[in-house]
């Protein structure tokens, strides 16, 4: 190894091993980061990326292994140590206080001023200065509660810069951004890089990794499986390393004759959990054998739309027709009829499998009958039929390739992808006429995504009407026949897939509709 390169290495993690019970999250992982580079850490969910960064940031103590900074070994006792060494981390979930201003959030804990007083104008001017220097374009006096997600992220970045961080770690920073916001973020990455900052970028979106990073470390099942230089690699190679085999990227798309309208929604309105309007007049139809994709940035009414359609949230206004029959649940104040989705033959893959989709401490077999537990063959006269439940589970485990194939194992011990397969297996087995599928591949590994996409397309082939709600634009583009863009509780526009471009969708997702006015509709 030549010495000049040796000198350039800023951070070195050696043989990091971290176990959680029987699970080895990191197995002798090595990572070296050069000064001033943008280093991508990629891998499937559960590959150990976040664990590794949490070890580096002092949130976890490794069981074995050493951390070197500028060649000297350091003991990362807690995040405080990390911060004092100039390491900063932007988490997936932002750590901001909404009622405070940007400047207040940033200086929190290190307020300018003396013991008793807080120098507000100094805080604002200091933050303004840093913001301008790095081209972050944030108003220090604005309240955080009024900011968009992209801006909130920039506040997080400012927070790190204010604390003089020189190594910035980003955990899946683009998951919550529109394509335009992602571009902005990458512009900021490049400007930070020019300032001499070092960036570690955790992601599983290969396109972005290829766009922004200098070097790429690939992890699989808790191990480092490759370190690549951007110029000398390709998306396909990274994917192969991540999954351990070749991956088919785009599922075969066939065009089918569409059938009758299965679901019709007219001027749908609903409120969110805080009783604020979440859906403000949504109308669309879904035909048999069609996938209508709903694109949008998180928090624009997707959750409420799925819940209203499946009877988990009451309708404030508007109508829902299933095969021509009015199935609107609009009794305000009254308890809505639970399980209506299951009675009507609507399948629902909920956006958050841990929150709604699974009872983690129930065995897989019990999870596979949730919603049908009171029906034949799973129960007779209110007594459960264990044999029928077990047989059904064994059948579905084979059909949907759920691993490990133990129907008595609590769902908690399955990987994210396999948990999702349990939900999909259950919902797709109801023989529904209409499916609401939310975020089907969130936190699912690449192999699992491929499998789930094929399952969704096979439901379409069977002539089911499908509403696919996803934050992953690629997923929407790959699977949908038509695409509706949801913004602020309204549908901005419904586009034919063939006519939709990523650029146009991105603008619509940001609530900008002038693009659509320039083309004939």
């Amino acid at each position: 190894m030549d010495s000049s390169k040796q000198q350039n290495i800023l951070v070195e993690l050696k043989n990091i091993t971290k176990k959680f019970g029987a699970l080895i999250a990191n197995d002798k992982v090595n990572l070296s980061i050069e000064k001033g580079e943008i280093h991508a850490l990629v891998g499937e969910n559960g590959a150990g990326k976040t664990t590794l960064m949490n070890v580096f940031y002092g949130l976890y103590q490794p069981d074995f292994g050493k951390i070197y900074l500028n060649g000297t070994e350091i003991h990362m006792a807690n995040p405080k140590t990390a911060i004092s060494l100039g390491i900063g981390m932007v988490h997936q979930h932002f750590m901001l206080i909404p009622p405070l201003t940007v400047a207040e959030n940033i200086v929190l804990g290190e307020e300018p001023g003396n013991f008793l007083t807080y120098n507000k104008s100094k805080a604002i001017s200091e933050v303004q200065q840093i913001s301008e220097k790095h081209g972050l374009n944030v108003d220090p006096a604005a309240l955080v509660s009024t900011l968009s997600v992209g801006t909130e992220q920039r506040v997080e970045i400012l927070k790190l810069l204010y604390r003089r961080a020189s190594i910035l770690i980003f955990d899946e920073p683009t998951a919550v951004l529109t394509p335009q916001e992602t571009k902005d973020l990458f512009r900021i990455f490049n400007s930070l890089k020019k300032e001499g900052k070092t960036i570690v970028f955790i992601s599983h979106k290969l396109k972005e990794v290829m766009e922004i990073s200098d070097r790429i470390t690939v992890m699989r099942q808790g191990k480092t499986v490759g370190v690549l230089v951007k110029e000398k690699t390709s998306e396909a190679e990274i994917a192969r390393l991540m999954v351990g085999r070749d991956v088919l990227f785009i599922p075969d798309k066939e065009v089918f004759p569409k059938g009758d309208v299965v679901l019709e929604v007219q001027n749908l309105q609903a409120v969110n959990d805080r009783h604020l309007p979440a859906l403000q007049g949504v109308s669309f139809t879904v035909k048999a054998g069609e996938i209508l994709g709903v694109a949008g940035v998180a928090g624009n009414g997707q959750t409420e739309l799925a819940e209203v359609l499946t009877g988990l949230r009451s309708v404030k206004n508007g109508k829902i027709f299933l095969k021509g029959q009015d199935v609107t649940q609009d009794s305000p104040g009254e308890k809505i009829k639970l399980g209506i989705a299951h009675i009507l033959g609507i399948a629902h893959v909920p956006e958050d499998r841990h929150k709604r989709g699974l009872i983690l401490d129930f065995p897989v077999a019990y999870n596979l009958i949730l919603g049908s537990q009171n029906k034949l063959p799973f129960s007779k006269n209110l007594i459960l039929d264990s044999q029928a439940i077990q047989n059904f589970a064994k059948e579905k485990i084979v059909e949907f390739d759920i691993r490990p194939g133990n129907e008595n194992l609590p769902a908690r011990y399955l990987s994210g992808g396999n948990q999702q397969k349990v939900v999909i297996a259950r919902e797709f087995s109801r023989d529904p006429s209409f499916l609401v599928i939310s975020q089907p591949t969130r936190g699912v590994d690449v192999g699992g995504i491929e499998f789930i996409h094929h399952q969704i397309l096979s439901m379409k082939k069977k002539g089911k009407a499908i509403l696919l709600i996803s934050l992953e634009l690629d997923e929407i583009l790959n699977l949908s026949d038509r695409i509706a863009v949801l913004y602020n509780g309204k549908i901005m526009k419904i586009l034919e897939r063939a006519a939709a471009t990523e650029e146009q969708l991105g603008l619509l997702m940001a609530g900008i509709s002038e693009y659509s006015s320039t083309e004939k509709s």
Binding site: L338, H342, L370, G371, Q373
Partner: protein
């Protein structure tokens, strides 16, 4: 199989550690731990008579333990055992005194009333939780005092017996009969409540593991949002679970007052069975069979404690200390488990470094 072994091993070793620490305390007080434990064991299981006494003491504990365990499966912490116990006792006592019927009708009717009384005391916090989301811990604790004072008022007022010792004695047809005749084991008081308690252990076990209702109840306890998604009503199940839990505690009170005491005394206080039910449920791993085992253990400590005091001159309070130690070792998250883990980790670490 391995899982079952582990589930049994943990409480057994916790009990062992509790007795170990208890031995240190006895030794420190200048007495012999061996003699103390020997007499404790003798008192609990040494003779048929003592065994019958142990079983008798365990009856109310089995019911209150099942009560806590069942509520817990629905995600509810039932601290209201005391109040439910008292109200169940009152209802069954009233039925036992004022209703005239042959045993075959009268006795089951008393049980039904006892269950209903407890269920009423459980239903109130259940309804408040289901309808308004008010936390059941607060409500059940407060309701305990309401029940205590209500029952005390009835016992010293409308239902007061001329003798002034509390309520009158129930009619013969309302008293739970002895399992073993007095002629076989002289002086034994073990009544049919023990057999009914075993039946309820099996019933609750069946209900929780084999019925649709049990599935729904556990689903609500483990993940209410997912239960709702599966068409299961959260509020209905919370209400139902509290009613059933209350009813079980009420049955405990029924056997205690109709059987053991034969009246509700005028100087009324909490019996402690409701609270001990929490301990029993936790030591029993919140499953019905475990509750049964833990109840027998606590029952034997109760009956053996008296014996120990007489024979080894160790105050009966030590039994309370041992009970407390058992609870601490079982429920302080993995105090014993951590010993196991530490040992295993140490072995693994050694293995890792040498490899």
């Amino acid at each position: 199989m391995k899982k079952i072994a582990r589930e049994i091993l943990l409480p057994i070793s916790s009990i062992f550690f509790a007795f170990l620490v208890g031995a240190v305390i006895i030794k420190a007080s200048g007495r012999s731990p061996f003699l103390a434990y020997q007499s404790l064991l003798m008192g609990g299981f040494g003779s048929l008579g003592n065994l019958a006494q142990t079983c008798l003491f365990s009856i109310p504990l089995i019911f209150t333990g099942l009560s806590v365990a069942l509520a817990y499966k629905c995600g509810l912490f039932n601290i209201g055992g005391e109040g439910q116990f008292l109200l169940g006792g009152l209802f069954s006592m009233a039925a036992g005194i004022y209703i005239h019927a042959p045993f075959i009708i009268h006795f089951p009717l008393c049980l039904l009333c006892g269950f209903a009384g407890g269920a009423v005391a459980g239903a109130i916090p259940g309804w408040l939780k289901a309808r308004y989301g008010i936390h059941e811990v607060i409500n059940t604790i407060m309701l305990n005092w309401i029940c205590l004072n209500f029952v005390a008022y009835i016992v010293n007022g409308p239902m007061k017996s001329p003798s002034g010792l509390g309520t009158p004695e129930p009619l013969k047809t309302a008293i739970p009969p002895l399992i073993i005749p007095d002629s076989v084991i002289p002086g034994n008081q073990l009544n049919i409540g023990f057999i009914i308690a075993i039946v309820f252990v099996l019933l609750v076990g069946f209900y929780l593991s084999r019925t649709v209702q049990g599935y729904n109840l556990k689903a609500v306890g483990l993940n209410p949002m997912a239960a709702e998604y599966g068409g299961i009503s959260i509020s209905k199940n919370i209400f139902l679970a509290m009613c059933l839990a209350g009813g079980l505690s009420g049955l405990g009170g029924t056997f205690y007052y109709l059987g053991d005491l034969g009246r509700i005394p005028s100087t009324l206080s909490f019996t402690g069975y409701g609270f001990e039910g929490i301990a029993v449920a936790l030591v029993g791993g919140l499953n019905p069979i475990g509750v049964f085992g833990a109840s027998l253990l606590f029952g034997s400590l109760e009956s053996g404690g008296i014996f120990m005091q007489l024979n080894a001159n160790v105050p009966k309070d030590l039994v309370t200390i041992i009970q407390a130690l058992v609870i601490i070792f079982v429920i302080v998250p993995g105090l014993v488990q951590s010993v196991f883990n530490w040992y295993r980790a140490k072995k693994e670490k050694e293995g890792f470094e040498y490899s």
